[in-house]
Amino acid sequence: MDLDFDAADEVFRAEVRDWLAAHVPSAPLPSLETAAGFAAHREWEATLAADRWSVVSWPEEFGGRGGSLLRWLVFEEEYYAAGAPGRVSQNGISLLAPTLFENGTAEQRARILPAMARGEVIWAQAWSEPESGSDLASLRSTAVRTKGGWLLGGQKTWSSRAAFADRAFGLFRSDPDADRPHRGLTYLMFPLDAEGVTVRPIGRLDGKPAFAELFLDEVFVPDEDVIGEPGQGWRVAMSTTGNERGLTLRSPGRFTAAADRLTTLWREHGAPADTALRDRVADAVIGARAYRLFSYRGASHVLHDEGGPAGAASSLNKIYWSELDIALHETALDLLGPYGELADHAGESPSDGGWAEGYTFSLAGPVYAGTNEIQRDIIAERLLGLPKGRR
């Protein structure tokens, strides 16, 4: 047992830190949930990619550095500590890319991954449907066989990034007669500007179009854009959902940096004598440390091939970070007192650290990537061995 990084890790950390110090924009970029912000964030992805910092854990041939999970955690820690912009490519990098590495063809990897790494093609996820949220096996949108490919039909919703993105990926029902509902699904990718696609942006709680509805009417997808075997979409998707719930979506660096900013905010407010508030600041700091150590331990297990934070354990991770994120932001808003309710674009908002936008975003955490209720069921059934029951 050893918490120290080796000399090579420290060299890597210093290299990341120096690069960020030289390149992170001095003023925050506009919100990536706006057209101008989206464009600015694309440019930032290109800047990252030019020096191979956009996907440090990917193989070098696709623009990465072949870094270990540990190196990725170090990178993320420095990234957030430097106050670098949010990642517009997040959906593609953390959801689609792991699937392609595991189930894609060599041709798909070569065609899709480098462009994703450079921010040239931004991906939106298209999992949910109006009648199908946590229960993905119930989804209804269809893929019908046609010459050389498939025709997509139906509706997707809550599609993150879709308002401004280029392409999307999701599951479609290709065999309505399959004996079990989660069989007969196919994993497909499609362009958002294709004929037959209508994108209707949806404003989230702060009005920004962070997601969209997609209406699909005979959208042609060639065979080369099917991932894995037709009919095996559920298995293909499940092989990588642990990534979404676990480490790769929410690295501890995010929360460590936010807890540091919260502590600074608390001290700037004269470290108020309000002990209830003090305790919440302390809990946020402790929570960020717990999440960091839990994540590093998990990464360490993976590196030493002792089994990692996969499967049901990623449900623990997902609940923890999503609730920690809300607690952090709520505490910050309370510290801001009468200014806490001001949105970021309010002229007098002191929330230049992004607390208001961060708060709005944090509220979605317990909902997306599998609701926390579903995660608790998974923990109870798979980690504690309790019987399945009626939801």
Binding site: L3, T263, D279, R289, Y296, R297, P387
Partner: protein, 328 residues
């Protein structure tokens, strides 16, 4: 970076668990509560044989410590089995004497602690007036201000919420040492005590969860086992979550202490409050999900339920720990 227990540490935990499983600790606690220390002392002797106390004592004085991480592993096991006695106080006393760097005092006291012959207790009056199990412990160390003394006796036992904990005020005594070295050594001992208590709480929480999971999978209502109800499942999932995230804090704090990090005290405080709250939460859940039978002292479960709250508050209340985390 390799941050998980190695094979040897896991084997130590396993063998300690096996040893304690064969000890009938519930019976030992019930005797202990009645003032019959016999069964508890024999558990103590077996723990000493397994090397538990030697982990806190340096090699010069017949130990093989100090090994904070192994101590944390051991104390999690002691908590799992709700072993009675001034376990934390004994290892904290060893830490204090070790840190005091007074060769005569150390040579006089530490070998007895390592071998298990000496059951020690420790009272830091800045944290509270009571010493645990002072009626049987020998010696009982008291630090008041910058003065370390050995108590001559103890006042009457004040009943604790936990029958396995016997509290009394140490009385009289002989001064052993005085000055800033005592203050510094007492601060270090308080850190070791907080770490051991956090680990012990974690073990208590693990047993409360395991016993409750076992209960809800056999208790039926409305024709089904209550463990199939979502409200029950979610409460247990949250209990596991709290314990799982407390554990790396405890282990990380032990490593920080072993390395002599400047922030070790802060890390220990973070571990203490988190493990203490997790165990207390597990106790509340265990009581609720066991229903009325959980509210009796007939079920052995009560021995763990009643431990959780005192461990949460001993050697650093949650408020004190949180303040320390922010003290920088």
């Amino acid at each position: 970076m390799r941050f998980f227990l190695d094979a040897e540490q896991r084997e130590f935990a396993r063998s300690l668990d096996g040893l304690l499983a064969s000890c009938d600790t519930p019976a030992a606690i019930r005797s202990w509560a009645d003032g019959d220390h016999g069964p508890g002392r024999s558990v103590w002797a077996r723990l000493a044989e397994a090397g538990v106390f030697a982990l806190a004592v340096p090699e010069t004085y017949d130990g093989f410590g100090p090994l904070p991480l192994e101590l944390a592993v051991a104390f999690e096991g002691l908590g799992r089995h709700a072993v009675p006695g001034p376990l934390v106080e004994t290892v904290a006393a060893a830490a204090l004497l070790d840190r005091l760097a007074d060769e005569r005092v150390a040579a006089d006291r530490l070998p007895g602690i390592a071998s298990g012959k000496s059951i020690a207790s420790l009272c830091l009056t800045s944290l509270g007036p009571y010493a645990l199990d002072a009626d049987l412990a020998d010696p009982v160390f008291v630090v008041e201000g910058d003065t370390l003394s050995v108590a001559a006796g103890s006042g009457p036992v004040q009943p604790s919420a936990d029958p396995g904990r016997r509290l009394s005020r140490p009385a009289g005594g002989t001064v052993l040492a005085r000055g800033p070295a005592v203050t510094a050594a007492a601060g270090y001992a308080a850190d070791v005590a907080a770490l051991a208590t956090a680990a012990q709480a974690l073990g208590v929480g693990r047993t409360l969860l395991a016993r409750t999971v076992a209960y809800v999978t056999q208790r039926t209502q409305f024709g089904v086992v209550i463990g199939s109800f979502q409200a029950v499942k979610h409460r247990l999932a949250d209990t596991l979550l709290a314990l799982e995230f407390a554990e790396p804090l405890v282990h990380g704090a032990a490593l920080a202490l072993a390395a002599g990090d400047d922030g070790a005290g802060r890390d220990i405080a973070a571990a203490k409050v988190t493990a203490g709250e997790a165990a207390y939460g597990a106790a509340r859940t265990a009581l609720q999900l066991h229903g009325a039978v959980g509210y009796t002292d007939e079920l052995d479960l009560s021995l763990w339920i009643r431990k959780a709250r005192p461990l949460r508050d001993a050697w650093g209340t949650p408020a004190a720990c949180r303040a320390r985390v922010l003290a920088g």
